[in-house]
């Protein structure tokens, strides 16, 4: 046991038995590993992980105290705090549970139609939606029904990635296509039954569609926006205020978990853990390759190298950057999900507890950046950020269309 842990154990926890909600996806790994490898226990926590059927359930059960904490989409603490789409409940996060990990998959039929228009449309990555735009215009002339795309929750990261990608080619996501919400576990079935032409979802569902020969991945969320926060740990603000020591212990256990996961040697075991029945209950051979940076875009052919498809700790992946939350909020405003007259800066400062995160890192003897925001889309490769102990290496944060988002 390290000195920090001993110190931690001398602090009185307000609550030791916790129930934490999650959705069975590859990036529930931070929670699953913390449980299975004993990191929760190491920090004095007795955690029950509760598999939930929907993001709505996660939101409601957290809001009404049935869950102490939950894996949330990075956008959810914002929508819960504002009451977008449901009741208002102030929700906070001091930790990102994982970055990247989603992709846009289209049916084989749609893929063939795009190929007919331009055989080389997906030769160069990242793939744009330009060819899709041509197809949509052709369909309009022929008076065909609009194509249907699915994502997983009204104000989801997936929704905003899909819209951003479509809109960059001049496709109006509200009028040129039909956007539906379908639970992740039903995506592949819907693709198979021709109920959708494409979707944006997290793993292992894209790879499942590929392995079954039902579709092609056009672009991953990593390519749309390098290293964007995907899942965060959500807490009720009241709970966070009344359980400061438990909150600290929880973040420490999850940081340990994320570090362990990002040790390449452990990734095989990570896949083994999350393929278990109590987590995703899906074959290890589908879950493992993306975790090893091997990503398949097509049913045929070799997997391609995408080393950062799933990151949990490296390059400050767990740091809750306010500039990234601002980008999500800018997209919510863009698509009319929230009002454009909100004071974004003060809202986000209350939701994402960056200083708290830093304090916890310091208590663990770990370094963290001294700034809360960075220019998103500016960095094409590794760069150095000023940190408490000097500098830290960060990774790229490019948008696929070359845009730069300044705070």
């Amino acid at each position: 046991m390290t000195i920090e842990n001993q110190q931690q154990n001398n602090v009185k926890l307000e609550k030791e038995q916790l129930t934490i909600g999650f959705i069975p996806l590859t990036d529930c790994a931070t929670l699953a590993v913390a449980k299975e490898k004993g990191f929760f226990k190491q920090y004095g926590l007795d955690v029950t992980l509760s598999k939930e059927a929907s993001w709505a359930n996660i939101r409601d059960k957290l809001a009404y105290g049935i869950l102490d904490a939950a894996q949330m989409l990075a956008t959810m603490p914002i929508t819960s705090s504002l009451g977008t789409g449901s009741w208002k409940k102030e929700t906070i996060s001091s930790l990102v549970l994982g970055v990247n990990g989603n992709a846009i998959t289209v049916s084989c039929r749609l893929y063939e139609q795009l190929k007919e228009i331009d055989p080389n449309f997906d030769k160069q990555r990242p793939v744009t939606a330009d060819t899709l735009k041509i197809l949509i215009e052709q369909r309009k002339v022929k008076d065909l029904t609009p194509l249907t795309f699915a994502h997983v929750f009204p104000a989801s990261t997936h929704n905003y990635f899909l819209r951003y990608w479509l809109a960059s080619a001049g496709i109006d996501p509200d009028h040129d296509v039909i956007l539906n919400v379908i639970p992740p576990q039903q995506m592949v079935k819907n693709l198979e039954n021709n109920m959708v032409d494409g979707f944006c979802v997290g793993e292992p569902w894209n790879q499942q569609a590929i392995v079954k020969g039902l579709g092609h991945v056009l672009i991953t969320s990593y390519e749309i926006w390098n290293n964007a926060p995907e899942k965060v740990l959500g807490l009720n603000k009241e709970w966070a205020y009344s359980h400061p020591n438990t909150h600290r212990a929880l973040i420490k256990a999850l940081i340990e978990s994320a570090r362990w996961i990002d040790d390449d040697e452990n990734r095989v075991e990570v896949a083994k853990i999350i393929s278990q029945e109590e987590y995703t209950h899906l074959p290890e051979e589908i879950i493992l390759p993306p975790l090893l940076g091997k990503y398949r875009y097509h049913p045929e052919g070799e997997a391609e190298n995408l080393p950062q498809f799933n990151l949990f700790y490296k390059y400050n992946a767990s740091f809750p950057w306010l500039s990234q939350a601002e980008w999500y909020m800018s997209q919510m405003i863009r698509w009319g999900d929230i009002s454009d007259s909100l004071d974004i800066e003060s809202i986000l400062k209350n939701i994402f507890w960056v200083d708290f995160h830093r304090q916890v890192m310091e208590e663990m003897g770990l370094d963290s950046p001294t700034i809360n925001k960075k220019s998103e889309g500016l960095h094409a490769k590794e760069w150095e950020v000023t940190s408490r102990n000097g500098t830290q290496t960060m990774s790229s944060d490019l948008f696929f269309d070359g845009q730069v988002f300044e705070y």
């Binding site: 939930e52 059927a53 929907s54 993001w55 709505a56 359930n57 409601d60 059960k61 009404y64 049935i66 009451g83 789409g85 449901s86 009741w87 208002k88 997983v152 929750f153 009204p154 509200d174 039909i178 956007l179 539906n180 919400v181 379908i182 639970p183 576990q185 039903q186 109920m195």
Partner: protein
């Protein structure tokens, strides 16, 4: 006053039958019972219910929540209660495992009695299920099967072999173990005779 049109979304057919009967007894129109395997968006656009009662743990909830987007050309967006809904009712509903979506702007006074019925029935069903769990632990599965067969034999006036066939067919159709089907039959019968 026009009767409210209610739709139930629940994968547990036993529970939805009980809830349907209770709501009808209380004077409401139950216009449809759907499961998460149905194409909900299509059905609900067509049915246009005033209120949808959903199993809290149904994976369909996220799809239902998007209906406000799908129906934006439609004057009836569906919302998960409203921001001024009574907090204790929501709390009770969530604890009982039931959620509901209503047409925006509906008077809470009209929703509350329906929610009360749904909460009571969901609780009752949970209690039955817990009781059944105990039964299952104390009895062998064989005995559960025998009990279900007895019910079928009585209802259909058939012999034991035919009752077994009914169970087996239901099991195959629903992709469930025979004993699970038997349990469901017992729980529905138990609830209907209460």
């Amino acid at each position: 006053m026009k009767k409210l049109n209610v739709t139930i979304v629940d994968d547990d057919s036993g529970r939805s039958i009980i809830l349907e009967r209770a709501l009808k007894d209380a004077g409401y129109n139950v216009v449809a019972i759907l499961s998460s395997n149905d194409n909900l968006l299509l059905h609900i656009e067509k049915i246009q219910p005033d209120m949808i009662i959903v199993d809290l743990d149904s994976p369909s909830r996220d799809s239902l929540e998007s209906m406000r987007i799908v129906t934006q050309h439609n004057p009836k967006p569906i919302v998960m209660f409203t921001n001024d809904t009574d907090d204790s009712m929501i709390n009770e509903a969530i604890n009982a495992g039931v959620s509901a979506y209503v047409v925006d702007g509906f008077n809470e006074k009209r929703i509350k009695p329906i929610m009360d019925v749904a909460i009571a029935r969901f609780r009752e069903f949970q209690a039955l299920r817990n009781e059944l769990k105990k039964t299952r632990n104390s009895l062998e599965e064989r005995k559960i099967m025998d009990k279900a067969k007895g019910i079928i034999m009585e209802q259909r006036n058939c012999n034991e072999a035919d009752a077994y066939k009914v169970l087996r067919n239901l099991s195959m159709e629903n992709n469930k173990r025979i004993v699970e089907v038997a349990e469901q039959i017992i729980s529905i019968t138990g609830a209907l005779s209460n």
